[in-house]
């Protein structure tokens, strides 16, 4: 509707003149949201149709995005946006269904694990019910099935399986002609996500081999080992896809390198829950990326982002330098900062921060 209309340059220009907003299509959103939340224009609204329990701590949300959503390719992620206690939260999740489901029925699934202490995942698990509407961004990501078909090895860990499920389903549907192997690591067999679907796919799609490995069921942890890879036929000719916790990804990378698999064949999508919040002096500081200026600098101690930017020769907008005037507010795209006035620790995602009172804790990226 409005979002489509304002894609025309003239209409967008006119909309800006009349509404004074850079994205005029969302000018009426507060009213539309009240009448029908599926009419909101700032993002693509998606109605939750069904919530399916995968494991004790993982749910799959079957959602129906508004028809103007542009779809996705298997293996891509999407930003979802929700408002929790008045604050808009953006988080990235993998789409776990095949694009075929979107094309045929207008539905997609998100499979989301509850992270201990995680604000958004816990809210999704505890508060979201069928009928509710969440916001969706456009799909993105380069974790894509090779074209033309080539032999593939997936190594997934825990909820890192979600984009892989989407890919396997897509491959099965097009009867992917090359061999496909999945090594799926889980803590225990109770933690297997989409187990039934994987079994069904393996029996339907003869090129697919699925191996589920429980790491914590024996006395000694059973991690990925060289032998697992040596058993895979023509490993060197495979395109390898990694998705899981950092430990697994690092280990897999090393073992693959040792076996002569080159980096251009290894595709990984980073996946790690945010570190729990703690406030200690020696944890302050970190690598700061000023994305718009293309500047990267290290920082130590309680130097705030404004001081760090200025020390690096940048001149971000600023005013009072004491957290009053918000002249220096800007967008943080990733990383954690501590509010110098309140000691409050920010979330890891995209949000607005006041440079003059934000102290980085670990790597931080801001739009300056």
């Amino acid at each position: 509707m409005l979002a489509r209309l304002t894609q025309s340059k003239t209409m967008h220009w006119l909309g800006r003149q009349l509404s004074n907003q850079d994205n005029p299509e969302s000018w009426l959103d507060p009213v539309l949201a009240k009448i029908n939340p599926m009419w909101v224009q700032a993002y693509t609204p998606a109605r939750v149709e069904q919530v399916i329990q995968e494991t004790t701590d993982t749910l799959t949300f079957l959602i129906r995005p508004a028809r103007r959503w542009t779809g996705f390719r298997a293996g891509q992620h999407v930003n979802i946006c929700t408002e929790i206690d008045g604050i808009r939260r953006n988080r990235t999740f993998s789409l776990s269904s095949s694009p075929l489901l979107w094309e045929s029925q207008g539905l997609v699934t998100l499979t989301i694990k509850r992270l201990p202490g995680g604000l958004v995942t816990n809210w999704l698990h505890d508060q979201v019910e069928p009928g509710q509407v969440i916001g969706l961004g456009e799909a993105f990501g380069e974790f894509l099935i090779p074209e033309p078909a080539q032999p593939v090895l997936f190594i997934a860990g825990g909820s890192g399986i979600t984009p892989v499920v989407s890919q396997l389903e897509t491959m099965a549907a097009q009867d992917y002609p090359a061999p496909v192997t999945l090594l799926y690591f889980v803590r225990t067999h109770r933690d297997v996500i989409a187990g039934e679907k994987l079994r069904a796919l393996a029996s339907r799609h003869s090129a697919l081999t699925v191996q589920v490995i429980a790491t914590n069921e024996s006395e000694e942890p059973r991690f990925l080992r060289g032998g697992d890879l040596d058993e895979i036929a023509d490993l060197k000719s495979r395109e390898v896809y990694l998705c899981g916790p950092k430990g697994l990804m690092d280990l897999a990378g090393d073992l693959l390198h040792q076996r002569g698999v080159t980096d251009d064949r290894i595709h990984s999508t980073f996946f790690a829950p945010p570190a729990p919040a703690r406030l200690e002096g020696d944890e302050l500081g970190g690598e700061v990326t000023f994305a718009q200026s293309d500047v990267q600098v290290g920082s130590e101690g309680d130097a705030n982002l404004l001081e760090i930017a200025e020390a690096a020769g940048l001149k971000p907008q600023y005013g009072c330098r004491m957290g009053i005037c918000h002249q220096c507010s800007c967008r943080k795209t990733s990383g954690t900062v501590i509010n110098r006035l309140t000691g409050q620790v920010s979330g890891p995602g995209e949000e607005n921060v006041q440079l003059c009172i934000s102290v980085p804790r670990g790597p931080v990226s801001v739009d300056v």
Binding site: A42, E83, I87, C325, H326, S329
Partner: protein
């Protein structure tokens, strides 16, 4: 100015910080709901006004349409735009309510406003020579400003400023008084003038060209109604804003007093340099809660609808430190503003005789 020693200033700072922290910890859905409700009301009034305006050949409809659009502009400027640009709703992380990207429905660009108002006025509040909002460089409101003959006509200036308020605010950053004194050159102001022309042009296009042309057969009616709506907003916002710092008992400060000041001293200056007025709930909303100017100046980035809730606590802090809390009815406060504009238009000799004293009175 009320004097406090370092320990007292520190205590004042802590007392006010405590009020602020309490509100910050409580921010959430209630505040989001409030601002969205005001936005919904604004959208409804604006659309209502625009739709009714072409039928303005029926006199009561003309009045309703003009009032509807005028009130919409007041709500947008005062309770939404001004407050959003202060960063009162940045915590919501809603890109449409972010202080640094919000643009409002008036001739002044958001960027210029954030510089002159959020930074200059709110940092150097009532410091004569540094706070250019004190008299807007066209009015003499304190005896720290030397009397010049042209000041005797400043009441006319005041009325003109009120009628054309959005253009006055838009051109505030031009610093015409410095251009006149040749302290700065026109060339330095070119980037500002370009931005002003773009934004002012946009506003004029919308209200005085686009909507009248859209309804061509009744263009003069629509044009008249839109001018009326802008006039209503100009007069109201100017009146409210003048009540914030120019009332009888609002104090002014010298640059020397504020050199190297700490946060406690800044707080003290905000408390004594601002003035409130009382009234009903709608008066507060339509003033953008600038009726709680004192609370606003102490906590410019707390959501304004919270000011009535914390006012009691701020008053208690004032009582504790024996700091005057300047409030009164809207009519009384505005009366003292008009009185001040008139008194300072007179030469000091005449004014002091009128005030019944022989020496210049400290304000």
């Amino acid at each position: 100015m009320k004097k406090l020693n370092e320990t007292q200033l520190q205590e004042l700072e802590q007392d006010l910080n405590a009020i602020r922290d309490e509100v910050l910890a409580d921010l959430g859905e209630r505040d989001a709901r409030y601002i969205r409700r005001v936005i919904r009301l604004h959208r409804t009034l604006e659309i209502g006004g625009r739709v009714m305006m072409p039928f303005g050949f029926i006199p009561p409809v003309f009045v309703a349409a003009t009032a509807s659009l005028g009130v919409a502009k007041i709500l947008e400027n005062m309770e939404i735009g001004h407050n959003v640009m202060h960063g009162q709703y940045d915590w919501m992380n809603d890109p449409n309510l972010h202080s640094q990207t919000y643009e409002w429905d008036t001739a002044c660009t958001a960027e210029s406003w954030r510089r002159t108002h959020n930074y200059e006025h709110h940092t150097y509040t009532n410091v004569i020579g540094k706070d250019r909002d004190y008299g807007y460089a066209v009015l003499r409101l304190s005896d720290e400003d030397e009397w010049k003959p042209w000041h005797s006509l400043q009441f006319i200036n005041y009325i003109l400023l009120s009628v054309l308020f959005q253009w006055g605010v838009g051109l505030h950053e031009l610093e015409s008084e410095k251009l006149r004194r040749r302290e700065i050159r026109w060339r330095d102001k070119l980037p500002f003038l370009k931005d002003f022309a773009r934004k002012g042009g946009r506003q004029a296009f919308k209200d005085y060209v686009f909507f009248p042309l859209l309804t061509l057969p009744v263009a003069p009616i629509v044009l008249a109604g839109n001018i009326g709506a802008n006039l209503i907003r100009n007069l109201w916002s100017s009146t409210v804003i003048f009540c914030g710092h120019f009332t009888q008992d609002a104090e002014t400060f010298s640059e020397a007093e504020c050199e190297g000041e700490n946060k406690g001293h800044w707080y003290l200056r905000q408390l004594t340099g601002s003035s409130n007025f009382t009234g009903g709930r709608w008066l507060h909303i339509l003033s953008g809660h600038l009726s709680y100017q004192i609370e606003h100046h102490v906590f410019p980035d707390l959501p304004a609808h919270r000011y009535p809730e914390i006012s009691e606590k701020v008053q208690a802090v004032c009582r504790k430190h024996d700091i005057p809390y300047n409030t009164g009815s809207f009519a009384r406060q505005y009366g003292t503003v008009l009185n001040r504009i008139f008194r300072y238009s007179l030469p000091d000799r005449v004014r002091t005789r009128l005030e019944g004293g022989s020496a210049p009175q400290a304000i």
